[in-house]
């Protein structure tokens, strides 16, 4: 079993999080290096996620490493009934690190337990996606100059959205103030509010988006998916009031930045894209530098 795996954002201390972000800053300044020369990275995608896979693979290639793997389960041996344990052992004969995406929750923790090489979790079902969380933190720090004492508005599907749950965990080190804006059906679950109370994190809740984020430094939008709703009439109503439009930004703070894990459906009107407060495309690009930092860290390479 490898001790260097990254499965969940809570595996990293505050110091480790900050070190990753520092390292990512270095990669942004100079992304093309040869530190992975001669190394092999496996990208095992048991479910397709082209966006995440391309980001990891580009990170490896820019570090001079090589890639093996598969991009969906149909082409992998698991479709022939091989256990995850056996797949991981087989691949670890060839690769120095495994980047893994899996539709089942807990798959990454289990893989990290049985794997002789480090595992990087690129998403396990609805559970964790730590490289997304770290690139969110990187984007926040880069645009605000700090992670400390920020007002952060989380908007949309707060019930099922794993990115917002992980973001709460990660930001808990930095004294944030949260506002949770969600329709009744998709409200923040009680266990995360308990988490906030236990860590002395201030939060408030609202159900309307408009005029509710004027003191925010970060507006973190998430996808509101149709299949989450029992009542489709309610979905139609929510879909419209949770669409961010350019004119809603008039009274927002000058330093406000809008983030979204992408892909968006219709939570952000395209008329916001040209506003300088829109940051979601740069946010996605930051993923590359953060993933270079993560792979370097789990492989013990000084950057």
């Amino acid at each position: 079993m490898s001790k260097n795996s990254l499965v969940s954002i809570s595996d990293y201390s505050k110091e480790e999080i900050l070190a990753i972000l520092d390292s990512a800053t270095g990669f942004e300044a100079n992304p093309n290096r040869k530190t992975l020369d001669g190394k092999v990275v496996a990208t095992l995608f048991f479910e397709p996620s082209t966006r995440t896979r391309l980001s990891f693979e580009t990170a490896v290639i820019r570090l001079g490493g090589s890639i093996i793997g598969f991009s969906d389960a149909a082409t992998s041996s698991s479709s022939k009934g091989e256990t995850l344990n056996d797949t991981i052992h087989m691949v670890s004969c060839y690769a120095d690190v495994i980047v893994m995406r899996h539709p089942l929750e807990g798959a990454a923790r289990y893989a990290a337990e049985v794997s002789p090489v480090p595992i990087v979790n690129a998403g396990d079902g609805a559970n964790q996606h730590p490289s997304q969380t770290l690139l969110d933190l990187y984007s926040i720090k880069k645009t605000q100059g700090t992670l400390e004492n920020l007002n952060i508005c989380l908007v949309g599907d707060l019930k099922y959205g794993r990115t917002v749950h992980s973001l709460i965990m990660a930001m808990s080190h930095f004294n944030p103030t949260f506002k949770f804006i969600a329709p009744e059906e998709l409200k923040m679950p009680e266990e995360y509010k308990i988490f906030c109370r236990k860590h002395g994190i201030k939060y408030s809740e609202a159900t309307e988006l408009n005029n509710n984020f004027n003191d925010a430094d970060i507006l973190y939008m998430t996808r509101v998916q149709r299949e989450r709703f029992q009542d489709l009439m309610e979905y139609e109503r929510v879909k419209n009031v949770y669409t961010l439009k350019n004119k809603m930004l008039i009274n927002s703070k000058l330093n406000l930045k809008i983030l979204h894990p992408l892909p968006r459906v219709n939570e952000i009107d395209p008329d916001v894209d040209s506003n300088e407060k829109a940051y979601y495309f740069q946010q996605a690009q930051n993923g590359l530098y953060v993933r270079q930092a993560i792979i370097s860290k789990v492989m013990g390479i000084k950057s």
Partner: protein
């Protein structure tokens, strides 16, 4: 009086008393008594002044390990466990909630890896805000004890 007699009937071993009647067979199951070769006496639906109706288990020639009695704490926190040697109670075993439980339960999350692959389940026991919850080590879901299925 009745209790004294039953305890006295066992020469060496373990007596688990004051098990709520509807939990008796869960206790049997988590201790894997169905495959045990020891002499075992089960009694159920006995009158109890404290809990109305109780069950009782006597296992000859086996002193339960601490991790086994701690598992009982999850199911029957008010049970009484006595270790018997030569007809005497030599130890009253306090029930302590374990910090972690292994193997004895299935995760309540159908999308959890442990329900699809041969993985030994592990749960952290969380005691806070007056309630007990279990957190699956793998899928990281928190659930109430009633939400997991005992094996």
């Amino acid at each position: 009086m009745e209790k004294k007699l039953k305890v006295a009937a066992l020469r060496n071993g373990t007596v688990i008393d004051h098990i709520p009647s509807d939990k008796l067979f869960k206790v049997v199951s988590i201790l894997h008594l169905e495959t045990s070769k020891n002499q075992i006496t089960l009694a159920n639906n006995l009158d109890s002044a404290k809990i109305g109706s109780k069950g009782l288990v006597k296992i000859s020639d086996r002193a339960l390990e601490e991790d086994e009695t701690n598992k009982i704490a999850l199911i029957a926190p008010n049970a009484k466990i006595n270790i018997i040697r030569e007809y005497e109670v030599v130890e009253k075993r306090p029930l302590v909630l374990p910090d972690e439980i292994r193997e004895i339960a299935h995760c309540g999350n159908p999308n959890c890896i442990t329900n699809h692959q041969p993985v030994t389940t592990r749960f952290f026991v969380i005691k806070e805000e007056g309630s007990m919850r279990l957190k699956c080590k793998y899928c990281e879901r928190e659930m109430k004890f009633e939400e997991v299925k005992l094996k």
